[in-house]
């Protein structure tokens, strides 16, 4: 059965955007925290590797953080297009 009530549809879109983006940010949040924590651990163990580790950290940061935007994007797709 198709939902035709306009109010319900627009409410569902807002909920989809909010829930999707919020839940989508959990995973990358854990990932970024773990990543930076491990980098700090590595630097405190071997401070001479700081610049190398920092470069790798930023690389991983960009790859991980992008996943938040996939969720945000899907939320916008639901909100504006769906």
């Amino acid at each position: 059965m198709a939902v035709t009530d306009e109010g319900i549809v627009s409410a569902a879109k807002v909920i989809a955007l909010g829930l999707g983006t919020g839940f989508g940010a959990i995973g990358p949040g854990i990932g970024v925290g773990y990543l930076i924590g491990k980098t700090i651990e590595g630097v405190s163990r071997q401070p001479e590797l700081r610049s190398d580790l920092q470069g790798l950290m930023f690389l991983g940061l960009a790859l991980t953080e992008a996943i938040t935007f996939y969720a945000l994007l899907m939320g916008f797709v639901a909100f504006f297009i769906g």
Binding site: T68, F69, Y70
Partner: protein, 291 residues
């Protein structure tokens, strides 16, 4: 010197904060998505394909002009052995792409042929991302006054067509080079790592899927990052208009400025670097597969 730089930065930020005023002026509803809609200013058709000129095309031209002409202008008198400041910038950029992108990802056999591609990809996307945060008068949806278009911070890399095109070029190069270097059958065999016979069909499906998903992940990463970043800034500034409450500005405007600095200072460069580096990795791993 520092004061001049600081005032330049503040001027740019002030310019950014001015642009929602144009929305006030036009008395239309605030639509953050309007930033990303392309209207063709001049339309040319080749069959069903539209090759007209729009905001995105102008941005692409601008980036090409900046990347090529600025470099040519800096090295106009030939390169010096005792580099001056402007030459230093070019040298740093070149050394960075050489060591961190070229040598880090491409195998030695393919370095000479594909380093220029990967490096120009980096510089092109970097310039695209950098100019996308400078307010330029190209917003014809919300004219500033009369025929003068409003200021906008549009990122052409937040247009999926642009990133998908760049990705498809990279992926096609990687497959062609992989076939050329290894032969057709060994190349496609090299996709699948050695695995027990029972798992082989599942492995083949997974590996083919991962090859196809490269196209999606590479293009959508850049696209979603720039789109998300720009929307975040525009929404933070636009909250004043959306909620119709000026007193919220002391909270939202600093957040917008913080995101602006974060996006411009870090994400724009990082995403260009990631895109070029992953392109290099894909091309390199196709030429010299790990067995």
């Amino acid at each position: 010197m520092i004061r001049r730089r600081l005032s330049l930065t503040l001027l740019t930020l002030a310019g950014l904060l001015v642009f929602p005023l144009a929305a006030f002026g036009s008395e239309s509803e605030f639509q953050p998505v309007e930033e990303f809609i392309n209207t063709y200013w001049a339309s040319f058709m080749i069959g069903p394909i539209e090759i007209g000129i729009s905001k995105a095309v102008v941005y692409l031209w601008l980036a090409v002009l900046i990347a090529v002409l600025l470099t040519l202008w800096i090295v106009r008198g030939g390169l010096r052995t005792d580099p001056k400041r402007t030459q230093n910038v070019v040298e740093v950029l070149y050394t960075f792409s050489e060591t961190n992108i070229g040598q880090a990802t491409l195998p030695k056999v393919a370095y000479v042929r594909w380093f220029p591609y990967v490096a120009s990809l980096f510089v092109f996307i970097w310039v695209l991302n950098m100019i996308s945060f400078i307010p330029l008068p190209l917003d014809t949806h919300n004219p500033f006054i009369g025929p003068i278009p409003g200021l906008t911070i549009y990122a052409v890399t937040s247009n999926l067509s642009v990133t998908l095109t760049l990705t498809l070029v990279t992926v096609m190069i990687s497959h062609v080079e992989g076939v050329r270097a290894n032969g057709v059958i060994p190349y496609f065999k090299s996709w699948v790592p050695p695995s027990p016979k029972a798992l082989l069909p599942a492995m083949i499906i997974l590996e083919v899927l991962s090859q196809l998903l490269r196209v999606v992940s590479l293009s959508v990463r850049l696209f979603a990052n720039m789109l998300g970043g720009h929307l975040l800034i525009i929404m933070c500034v636009g909250f004043v208009i959306l909620l119709g409450n000026v007193f919220i500005a002391p909270v939202t405007i600093p957040v917008a400025v913080a995101f602006y600095i974060f996006e411009w200072g870090l994400v724009a460069s990082l995403q260009a670097y990631i895109f070029a580096m992953l392109s290099g990795i894909y091309i390199g791993s196709a030429i010299e597969p790990h067995h």
